[in-house]
Subunit: 498 residues, 2 copies
């Protein structure tokens, strides 16, 4: 048997190498590549993807997984987890014909180009035929799999293994009225002042402070780096090479700081993965929601908390004395948490963010159920914005065209953003029960107990546990909105005197 597991590991190691090489090509495309290199890069990525898929879906791998699956059926070892995770991926991968994959690559490449143009011109009609093709491919993809309770389950499972559409709906149904209620209360309260956030701040100084903060958090620059890119993201090529990107927007200087915190949260998760899992499917994070729980925790529960700013505001003020003249840690804290229903998800505050996500989930489910025609999406989007957030985008660029996901063929992904928020609060309650002086530690700029806890309970396990299993193992409950509602209510009651 050890012969077979070693054979499997050898093949999976090569698949992992190919996938990580592809990730570097992608990172380079976003960070360094001269624009004209994109055609060749597309070929290179296509070839790596094709070979990786061929290697992974070979009959040999199927046979090894079948034999090892029987052998390890009742084992809880790491090797058993490896076989389980690899089998699930394999069972999916073999259902998707490689002819479909190459067809999809072509559709997506064009859809992305069309989306860029459509967003630039704020003209949905440019994107519409491409989105129709993408949706056609999504239907086809679903058809490759045995029918589930809901066709959307098949999509969701790719990002959040084991999660069902019905579960997410139930969670969001419980969450939505509480968030609406909270928003209503905030709306009628005295508003907070944040004009000083939008003054001119020196880019290099902000960037430097961000790197200082995430180094303090525990992001290990000796195993990573931060580069400029059009969009902030995290990517890893091994447990010892986990990189993040960031950008600087003149009118919104502190977005750079919070993005650094956010991406470092993802990165610390990857840097904390068990080195023994390297070059196996167990390496890395277990799901998008759990990944997002880490990024949102460092960005919001730590980075947008009062204790953190009691620690860090003096340093910020020293760097920007004129811009922050007369501003206190408390008033800065209030300003960075100001609630304003707005059009753009990525700029949303914590009180409105999930609303953006729920809207997208409803639309995606409507699309998959063939209830919504693509041509009607702008109208549907705007109506839901009015319903959820009480604002209507002035154009499609700030509405239905704002996000890149659909142009990349990604459908089933969005809800993980909100689920991640919920998980971050569930974990936070447990952490504060375990580390009772955590707030004091943060006030002193100490983050090592927190990171140590996350490493031990979450990071080290990589993909070993499915997300719901992991969350339940740690918190005693599956993913649930109660903790997040408690967190939001407490935070905003304090800020807005509710």
């Amino acid at each position: 048997m050890s012969e077979k597991i070693n054979q499997l590991k050898e093949i999976l190691a090569e698949v992992s190498d190919l996938d990580h090489a592809a990730r570097l090509l992608d990172w380079d495309q976003q960070v360094n590549m001269p624009a004209r290199g994109s055609e060749a890069r597309g070929h290179q990525l296509g070839t790596l993807g094709k070979i990786s898929h061929e290697k992974f879906t070979s009959e040999q791998v199927g046979k090894l997984l079948e034999d090892l699956g029987k052998e390890f059926a009742s084992s809880k070892s790491n090797d058993a987890a490896l076989v389980r995770v690899a089998s699930r991926k394999y069972d999916k991968a073999v259902r998707v014909p490689s002819q479909y994959i190459s067809r999809q690559a072509v559709v997506i490449a064009k859809a992305f180009e069309a989306w860029v143009e459509a967003k630039g011109k704020s003209d949905f009609s440019i994107f519409r035929p491409h989105l129709e093709e993408v949706v056609q491919l999504v239907h086809e993809y679903v058809s490759f799999f045995p029918s589930a309770d809901h066709p959307y389950d098949t999509l969701l499972d790719d990002y959040e293994p084991g999660m069902k559409t019905a579960e997410v709906k139930e969670i969001f149904n419980a969450l939505r009225p509480k968030q609406v209620e909270l928003l209503k209360a905030i709306k009628s309260a005295k508003q907070v002042k944040d004009d000083f956030l939008h003054k001119k701040y020196n880019e290099n100084k902000v960037w430097g402070l961000g790197e200082k903060v995430i180094t303090k958090f525990g992001y290990d620059f000796s195993r990573g780096r931060q580069d400029k890119a059009p969009h902030p993201f995290e990517t890893s090529f091994s447990v010892n090479d986990v990189r993040i990107t960031n950008r600087f927007e003149e009118g919104n200087p502190f977005a750079n700081l919070f993005s650094a915190m956010h991406e470092s949260g993802h990165a610390m998760y990857e840097q904390g993965s068990n080195p023994a899992y390297e070059r196996t499917p167990l390496a890395g994070g277990t799901s998008l929601a759990v990944h997002e729980s880490q990024s949102r925790m460092w960005e919001n529960l730590v980075g947008r908390s009062l204790p953190f700013w009691e620690y860090f505001f003096p340093e910020l003020k020293k760097a920007f004395p004129s811009q922050l003249d007369g501003v206190s840690a408390k008033s800065f804290y209030k300003a960075i948490n100001k609630v304003t229903p707005s059009f753009i998800r990525v700029n949303a505050d914590e009180a409105t963010y999930n609303m953006h996500v729920m809207l997208r989930l409803e639309i995606e489910i409507g699309i998959v159920e063939n209830k919504f025609a693509i041509k009607d999406l702008p109208e549907i989007w705007n109506a839901k914005m009015q319903d959820y957030l009480g604002v209507v985008p002035p154009n499609d660029a700030q509405g239905v065209l704002q996000d890149v996901h659909w142009s990349n063929g990604l459908m089933g992904y969005y809800s993980t953003y909100a689920l991640g928020n919920l998980v971050s609060a569930q974990l936070w309650e447990k952490i504060n029960a375990d580390i009772t002086d955590l707030e004091d530690q943060i006030r002193k700029g100490k983050f090592d107990s927190l990171l140590g806890w996350l490493r031990e309970k979450i990071h080290i396990h990589g993909h070993k546990y499915d997300p719901q299993v992991l969350v339940k193992k740690i918190t005693g409950s599956k993913i649930d909105s109660a903790a997040y509602v408690r967190y939001l209510t407490k935070k905003y009651s304090d800020i807005y005197g509710l």
Copy 2:
């Protein structure tokens, strides 16, 4: 037949994609990668190399090449050239067992580490056992091939297709006495002043001027970029993504400028390759010597010429008025061409550079002929330095350990550096016959006719013509030292008043 050539091209395109992906991983390792990422990067490069080798040496490729070789035997088309070049690579690749390749990878990885340490400590004994293993592998490599006129032929052919050891020896035998004679004359002439070259110059300013110069030359930054790395090099991932690296040494500020010129020469060659050759073995440069002829031409025949400095010195002086106070274009020109026999090849002036190369060729041939024992190399090296250049390195770091090549398993490579110099001068005579006012153009900062000539005669052809065929086609003569000797003699007679 068109079916077969298309099948072949499809496979070779994937091999090309894999090889270019590997090059990006290598570039990233030298430019961006956190040091701790090296183990995983080694695995990724190993996997890409293995899969590329397997794909290229498959029976299917062998059969296609055999059939197509017969079909295209008398054709001069691009497809015929493609089949010829691919067949030659294939015939070599299939002779090398993949077991050898993976064994070599391990030896080299360790040899490189040992070389770094040995050079740092200037202690040859640390490197010696590793070099012995490398040489053992070199002997083994030679044994995979039918015996040639000289065993060194097999090695040389990998870098300079079709070139024989006897030919190189003959060329060098003609060259050596001329260079010795010139050096003697220079030694007894009045020396030139160059103290102003070693003052403090602002790094960013020098770097910026370098980018300005190479943009003027014609290096297309929209299809490339220049980054910092420990060593200057050029690499390409497609005709539209050709990158260079550079460094800055405090005590030797203008090395940055000349390295930029040198690497841009390599890069313009790659950028000028026929786009129709993309993803085939015809893309890129035809050999190391022809490549080096391009880099050395822009660095030396253009960049270290008087007309160039008559054009560019005013701008340099404007940037560094105090450092260059009282210095004229002519005296600057003389200073950057100052001849000083020294220990380090990469810092050598044009009059001594080839001597360093000839020394290495003799040693490599001695090693391959089993005439030299590895343990004796430091002594042999120093004796030859005395003989060739009249100086003896004070330690092995500045002697036998100075270059990285052997630690990478590269043997058979060095002579291409000198051959490139010779070719650059042969081409230069022909160019000046075709573009009679070239000097005037350079004096005005115009380089487009020169680049146009190189594009048309050399760059566009990629690998289509073997190096000797190409040089003869253009200049009427095979690679030969006469033009270079004329060039050196004229230049140094002027500078030293010989």
